[in-house]
Assembly symmetry: C2
Homo-oligomer: 413 residues x 2
């Protein structure tokens, strides 16, 4: 049933997200899956998130007290969610006759730095996990949390439970880290947009990273980067069925036969055009320094030289950051030779990602040809070694994804 | 405003129950009260419970998985409730400019034995609380929880947060322990039953213990016993107003002028009559041994010798235990010479409590005289040095409480 694990005895880290432990019925299903993995002869460490909604509820309770809650206490607050699910998961395992013990992040020896609410893992000792496993236990570890050198509880920020799982897998030298979620795996495109989208069986860390930065929301880049750095093979799969998911690992040669692995879209971008910039060296650098200081990340960039020694600069930022970007640019107008924000337009970024691009030519031609034939106008372009992204009108985003999905034969096995 | 604490700089432990931290508005009110206590020049340690309903919700989630959840994991589960409220209380204090730090039971050095879900406190080190206080912090401690010598989280059972507060007050040598709840203090009778009931200003530990065993639900006997043993003065008062509450302490001479402090009623009693018992020495002992082994506590007892060498035995147990009592007695019928349970009737136990009874005569005469004049029939009687209790028909319980309240002039200052 669990394809990967029947072949041989392994140490497996399984991570279950908030929807997978959302109610007693789901928790029982999770317990059954864990037990069947143990019954197949494996040792299992489980990382669980808080129930869906609990973390947001706790944040809302704190924000009802003050808009700027103390971060140390926020961490102390937020871990309550996982404290609940580790215990319930252990109880569910006991109920079906499986030995199990729960451990907090601190109990699992997940040591972090001092950055409350967004701590970075500095070391994982694993605590007594190895002994507990050898004693026949499943060990349930609270995701998203750790402890700093002062003994204070910390949390790892968004996507933290995935990171806990991948990092534990690295520390314990697990054979695989299975990320159970509410989707079947990683798809060639969003199935809600492209009806012929297929699940990808295998992909490289770099591809998933590019997809993540292109709007695919399956996993935070941070966990993927950690996995890549420590060479942790992981699988993204559904806790709602027994289908194999998508295995993510270091590039293997067969991967290169697939030129483009997936097409992604990010509809949360704002295109900002600055006009009346002095056409002098260093001006663009000043613009991006101003934005960087305000914590605004710039994505795609186009610069046009205008007339009379003035230039225009067009770039995209996340829609969430756009108001702040406008504010700091207007404040810096003098410094920027009187430049002004001429327009802010919502756009979509559409990307094709594939590790095979490195060794195949003509990908760009196929990409732009497909969009041209569909009459979709391209406003900005950015590329990496394994990705091509374009900014286009938001209204045509889904169409563009479908056109590209077809152009690269992603609907075909 | 806070009568006790304005006079002198003190170390005060304040405990807030579940209704007092039930929502952001209530938590803000708690924070204001704590801050005003600090502003009056005191050091404050705060013990909080889980929000009302949270602990029961967590128990329900576990019971949805299995009727008999593992107790170690239950403890790990239940502490999530206080984990939330300590953090929120600290956040609320920061929001009004008061330094505050939260600590779990383990963090406060509350060491317990190994009895999960009903652990007993064996030691309180206080952790770094003293230093934190000296550094200007309010320290918020999670009630109801501790840690055993294995490092496993434990909980203290029902009323555990009161116990945490009283025990911390003892360990820290606090000047007073204030128990904030949703009632104004301890009354001469239940104000819902007796309209002229008054709040008692001061009472002895023993009086409160007798009231607790007589159906008054303000505090668990366990916490009162701990306070008595360690001589912790505590005050039961409301978190919804600024009125002084009831101070509970070792007996002082002025207390003896008040002969009866309060009248209590317990409507949760079942009277059981066993008939056809052999009229032999040791039979009653066997009955109570059978019940004791089943964990059933017997309260009031009356034995009548019948005819033909047979006796009747009447006693009361908590209504919750009555089915179990019947079951074990029927099983033991042979051992008891063929005795059978003749009847089970719901009754009320009405009690008058007062430390002054010890040195005043005629209390019993007043007590029984008042009930006789009202025509209330007495079915069972039990007395202690400072209490008289009677079992009467449930339907006349409220009337009896009023009659006694008046007979002992409890409506008069």
């Amino acid at each position: 049933m669990l394809n990967f694990i029947e072949k041989t005895m392994s140490l497996i880290v399984q991570k279950y997200g908030g929807t997978s432990v959302g109610d007693p019925i789901r928790i029982k299903a999770v317990a059954e899956r864990i037990k069947s993995t143990v019954d197949a002869g494996n040792q299992v460490v489980v990382v669980v998130s808080a129930r869906s909604g609990v973390t947001n509820d706790l944040i809302a309770r704190a924000k009802a007290l003050t808009p700027t809650p103390d971060e140390r206490e926020m961490d102390s607050l937020l871990v309550a969610g996982e404290q609940e699910t580790i215990a319930l998961t252990a109880i569910a395992l006991h109920a079906i006759g499986q030995k199990a013990v729960s451990r907090t992040g601190a109990g699992a020896g997940i040591k972090t730095d001092f950055a409350h609410t967004k701590a970075r893992i500095v070391e994982i000792t694993g605590g007594d996990i190895k002994n507990l496993l050898d004693d026949g236990n499943v060990v349930i570890v609270a995701g998203f949390q750790g402890v700093n050198a002062n003994g204070d509880i910390t949390t790892l920020g968004r996507g933290g439970s995935d990171l806990s799982a991948v990092a534990l897998a690295a520390a314990l030298k697990a054979d695989i880290c299975q990320i159970y979620t509410d989707v079947d795996g990683i798809y060639t495109a969003d199935p809600r947009v492209v009806s012929t989208a297929r699940k990808i069986n295998e992909m490289a860390y770099d591809e998933l990273l590019e997809l993540a930065s292109s709007g695919s929301k399956v996993m935070q880049a941070r966990s993927v980067e950690f996995a890549r750095k420590h060479n942790v093979i992981f699988e993204v799969r559904s806790s709602f069925n027994n289908e194999p998911g998508t295995i993510v690992k270091t590039e293997v040669s067969t991967m290169e036969n697939i030129v483009v692995s997936g097409v992604a879209v990010d509809k949360n971008q704002m295109k900002i055009t600055l006009v009346q910039l002095p056409d002098e060296p260093g001006v663009a650098a000043t613009v991006f320094a101003v934005l960087g200081k305000a914590g605004v990340t710039v994505d795609m960039i186009v610069q046009n030289v205008g007339r009379a020694g003035k230039a225009n600069l067009t770039f995209t930022v996340s829609k969430d950051d756009s108001a702040k970007a406008k504010e700091v640019l207007e404040k810096a107008s003098k410094e920027l030779g009187g430049a002004t924000v001429e327009s802010m337009t919502e756009i979509a970024k559409v990307s094709a990602v594939g590790i095979g691009m490195r060794s195949h030519s003509g990908i760009a031609a196929s990409f732009f040809g497909a969009l041209a034939r569909a009459g979709i106008n391209i406003e900005l372009i950015t590329t990496s070694e394994i990705k091509i992204s374009v900014g286009i009108a938001l209204a045509r985003a889904d169409e563009a994804v479908n056109v590209l999905h077809q152009a690269f034969d992603l609907d075909k096995k």
